[in-house]
């Protein structure tokens, strides 16, 4: 864990058109982005995600990408509050993401 939080810009590093929940729904789905996030989180311990610059987000993408960290990847919400930083010019988007993380329950 290096502690360096290199930001991931979804628009720059992933896609300007994030869409879909599962990988079967398309190449830039929430499930795919979650895998990118998990890799970064395990590699570096902390991640900053920049949300601006995309065409917009569907709730299904956000829930799968961020809520899925708790449901499917065994991260706890408190752990994510420490390790994950989410930045956006739209504060309701950040609140939405944290609400998915806080409400999610681990599947096992």
């Amino acid at each position: 864990m290096s502690g360096v939080t290199e930001p991931i810009s979804i628009a720059r590093d992933f896609s300007r058109f994030p869409a879909g929940r599962y990988q079967t729904d398309g190449p830039y789905s929430g499930e795919h982005f979650r895998k990118v996030l998990v890799e970064r989180l395990r590699e570096r311990g902390a991640v900053t995600v920049l949300l601006d610059g995309t065409m917009g987000y569907g709730s299904s993408f956000l829930e799968e990408a961020f809520g899925g960290l708790v449901r499917k990847e065994n991260f706890s919400a408190s752990e994510l509050h420490r390790a994950l930083k989410i930045e956006s010019t739209d504060p309701s988007l950040t609140r939405e993401i944290w609400s998915y993380i806080d409400k999610a329950k681990p599947s096992r």
Binding site: F17, A19, G20, R21, Y22, T24, D25, G26, M55, G56, Y57, G58, S59, S60, F61, E63, D90, P91, S92, L93, R95, E96, S99
Partner: protein
């Protein structure tokens, strides 16, 4: 011998008159300003309400539509996401004008979740029944946003303000 006018002898009534005139002008100016702000807010709120209703109808069409993840559905999904983004910005204008009011983040999250959550953009998406839960949630979420806007407006612009 000429008589000195009473106002020259005692300037107090003239000063009082001027103070009252200036105060009256200032009050009228404040009232006009408040009316203009009220009207601006009302226009913006009406336009947001219209757009929320249109978005609800488009989302209903999206969910009840028979197309899967084909091009028209994709286009519709992209349009809905963009519209939600733009609506959030419109509400932020109200927030900037009245920093302690119009905190509709919770209501907008519910509307976003209703419009773009669930099976949104999934390949396996199946047409929802017109009287189903998804559609009901959409109607409720859109209603709540519109009611909250009106409530906040009433609280911001009381009749004496």
């Amino acid at each position: 011998m000429n008589q000195v006018p009473s106002s020259a002898a005692n300037p107090f009534p003239t000063i009082v008159t001027w103070v009252l005139v200036v105060a009256g002008w200032y009050l009228v100016h404040l009232a006009a300003l408040s009316r203009a702000r009220r009207q601006e807010d009302l226009d913006l709120i009406r336009s947001i309400e219209g757009r929320v209703t249109a978005l609800r109808d488009r989302a209903v069409k999206y969910y009840t539509g028979t197309t899967g993840n084909e091009d028209p559905a994709r286009e519709m999904a992209a349009g809905l996401k963009l519209e939600l983004k733009s609506l959030s910005s419109a509400v932020r204008i109200l927030r900037r004008r009245h920093p302690k009011r119009y905190d509709l983040a919770g209501d907008f999250i519910a509307l976003r979740a209703a419009a773009t959550g669930g099976q949104f953009e999934e390949t396996q998406r199946r047409p929802a029944p017109a009287d189903g839960e998804v559609i009901q949630q959409l109607w409720d979420a859109a209603d709540v946003v519109c009611c909250s806007l009106r409530d906040e407006f009433e609280k911001t612009h009381r009749w004496w303000m």
